[in-house]
Symmetry: C2
Subunit: 288 residues, 2 copies
Amino acid sequence: MFKETFQRYLTMIEQTLAQLPWDEDSLNESMYYSLIGGGKRIRPVLALASAEAVGGNPETVLQAALAIELIHTYSLIHDDLPAMDNDDYRRGRLSNHKVFGEAQAILAGDALLTYAFEILANLELGQPERELRVIREVALAAGKDGMVGGQVADIAGEGKALSLNEIEEIHKAKTGAILTVSARLGGILAGGTEEQIEALTDYAQALGLAFQIKDDILDIVGDSETLGKPAGSDIRQGKSTYVSLLGLEGAGHQLHAQILKAQAAIKPLGERASFLNELAFYIEERKH
Amino acid sequence: MFKETFQRYLTMIEQTLAQLPWDEDSLNESMYYSLIGGGKRIRPVLALASAEAVGGNPETVLQAALAIELIHTYSLIHDDLPAMDNDDYRRGRLSNHKVFGEAQAILAGDALLTYAFEILANLELGQPERELRVIREVALAAGKDGMVGGQVADIAGEGKALSLNEIEEIHKAKTGAILTVSARLGGILAGGTEEQIEALTDYAQALGLAFQIKDDILDIVGDSETLGKPAGSDIRQGKSTYVSLLGLEGAGHQLHAQILKAQAAIKPLGERASFLNELAFYIEERKH
């Protein structure tokens, strides 16, 4: 059932992505190149599943879910730039700037971020207050107090010995904020109650940390081919991670604790949240 | 009267800018550094004046005007990057990446763009449909079909012999779209009629071209100190400009024609548009 639902969400997302209009120029081509780069689509899936978990129709949040994927994609393009992580590959393909050049990669990222807000302002669900709230929350999660701020803190922490608390703060901002707003916007646009939206928030925050801990573990135990990127890069970059601080076993325990926390948070949502419940296990067991 | 009004607008803008909350970290510092870098504030001034030109209160559009200035500032930070124009100076000060490093300059730009949409989603004017329309129009003007698209076309055109038509298309996207939406959002948020908003649109499009032609002229006849950047850089970069295609005198005629066009467009707005009328002369005669 979990696999079928996951596949249903993915099909909806890929179809909506394929229907986005693109002009035939190199900028559009470079934006599209990274967008169809075969990501896990965790964020839009989370948005659709959250809508269903509060009893709404996932179709309602599809466009907003897409906007989140655009924002995620822009952040990866900018992260890969020579001035940032200087990664030549992303998901087993050449990174955007290796194909289109650095200038255009910067601009493709800028355009994807802007396009995301264009899509969010075009939802036309007949609920303008809710739509404005979603734009507000997405901007907050993506900006200086969320994803971008976390990225700056992450760069500033490179080569330094960070505490577990500091690592957690960085991840909450860098990856957690966008994951959390993905779940929240699903709940908000589908007309969930504030209590339901809070439950989704707690779930997504725990899931986000679990996701990051798993990333740290995979960097050690994963193989480069399955990951689509070189394993062991955290060690080479001198990064403090859950594994470097807690060891593999300790990190595994932390991971499982977050999974249980996530699942406890959505208990009140009942049977409709069973996909989210399974998704937590999926995050714990993923191989890439 | 024109100078007093201009000063009144500038004071409103600088005061609102000064009231924006900033955290005490290097990301906030780098965003603020470029934002207070002493620009001409033409875009927010245009927004405030457009609100008054349709009989509205400029206070109403102040926050939105600020958002536009944030977007303009982000675009300058990214334009100056080594991978783009590689400018060490901007308005007589070191460019953002020369002070904060390339990685953080990219992120400061990203955060300013995102912050702009946060502000636009927080207007709380009690007119959610209008507010959504403004976000939609700003995103369109700033993105792949507007400013970013124009920037890509501009880079692609470097060193090529462009026609006047091609130059105009680039400028309409690269600088014209944001200038135009500045005027439009002033009209929209102040409750102008569609006819008034159209008049402002025609005005701003002509003004935008005039602005660009004047830029091309100043690059030849201006001195570096007054400009705050090296004069003659268009020639050194092998750029096609209004001056390279029409000569100085021809460019001057084109400039004047656009000024007259701008002024004709706002005739229907009457006396309340007298500042915009004067602003056109100001653009024609500016020294930097």
